[in-house]
């Protein structure tokens, strides 16, 4: 097996993005609004997990949701119908990630004043969204059991920028070659600080622990 390395010359657009993101983070902090960015591959269960978490948190906190997609409003409709919280759909017209500028525009469209928590469901993409800081206080990265426990090895940056990781769809574990131990080991290789939660939104497994963690994080900025 031969091995070659292709290195692209890329402009440092991400460093400019970081400056804008830092401002968003500071401004929301001053208003005591917690901003949660949820990232994963397509079909890892972001919308389903968020529906469960929002329904657990909405009696304690005023929540707004930003749903980002290339096209369609499938997820925003689901979240709005199943949770009743304020939901904004942004369509990126094909763009693969959310820049801090898009993030800021979506927050403005959402109308964050009076909210305690804003949740961004990012584009389903395990690559590009990791490069663009949205200004969130928490990056929750999902890894579904069907995807395989090797993904942190193959998509390093996403797991490096994660502040927490949720393994999802644990109810289908028997049908897949997936080891909780390997998943945790591979996440830790990329990131020693992110706690890993094992969850099934369908069965409810692990949701108490993840909910409690998020409550602590939300309270930490009050």
């Amino acid at each position: 097996m031969d091995k070659i390395r292709v290195v692209e010359i890329r402009e440092d657009i991400t460093s400019r993005n970081n400056i804008g993101a830092e401002k968003i983070r500071r401004d929301l902090l001053a208003k005591k609004i917690f901003y949660l960015n949820v990232m994963s591959s397509p079909g890892s269960g972001k919308t389903t997990l968020l529906t469960e978490l929002i329904n657990r948190l909405k009696s304690s906190y005023r929540i707004g949701v930003i749903e980002a997609d290339l096209d369609s409003a499938v997820d925003a409709q689901t979240i709005a119908e199943k949770t009743g919280v304020k939901t904004v759909q942004i369509n990126t017209a094909g763009a693969c990630h959310i820049t801090c500028q898009m993030s800021g525009e979506a927050l403005a469209a959402c109308g964050v004043d009076g909210l305690d928590v804003v949740i961004l469901e990012n584009i389903g993409n395990l690559v590009c969204p990791a490069e663009f800081d949205t200004g969130a206080h928490e990056n929750l990265v999902l890894l579904s059991v069907p995807e395989g426990d090797d993904k942190p090895l193959k998509y390093p940056l996403m797991f490096e920028v994660a502040t927490s990781v949720a393994v999802t769809k644990t109810d289908v574990l028997p049908a897949f070659d997936f080891s909780f131990e390997n998943a945790e080991k591979n996440v830790t290789k990329r990131n020693k600080n992110a706690p890993v939660f094992f969850t099934s939104a369908l069965k409810g497994d692990g949701l108490d622990a993840l909910e409690n963690y998020l409550r602590e994080r939300i309270e930490s900025i009050k």
Copy 2:
């Protein structure tokens, strides 16, 4: 639910890419080498399906494989071990897609002369690789059952550039809310010409049909 549209101004780098890709396609055609580009989300089963297909095709054709990843050589090792065919790993150092330039360099590194078929396993990403023509004659797009049958609605371009679609992991159908009928309908919405195959690399379901389709496509350029 509010709906806003974020449109990014992007340079037309893809049109320059298209010119280079067209040259690759023509040059390979002149040498009667069939170039197959396989794209999907992370963890949709590209490597497992390719292993099965290569083992079915390798007695008829001389095959080379290009494995593209952000980092690691997990997939290239798997393909090399399980099929014995010539395999080249390219690492994109974090880049989210394969440009025609990377494609050309990888083909050169693979050493295509004397081969009948070159297979590119693209970066696991349902967004960006669709924007960059690699010069392939066939774009096989995978959609795994656990991802959900709505993905063609949410990732339109990927299914528009597909020349064929393989629904994968059909063996786990009972555990998921996935309808073959909806999947086919949603693919057809984006693309009337791409045939859809329903496959399980684990159980062998649908592999004969996909193999026969690929044989026809390979023979069509001889």
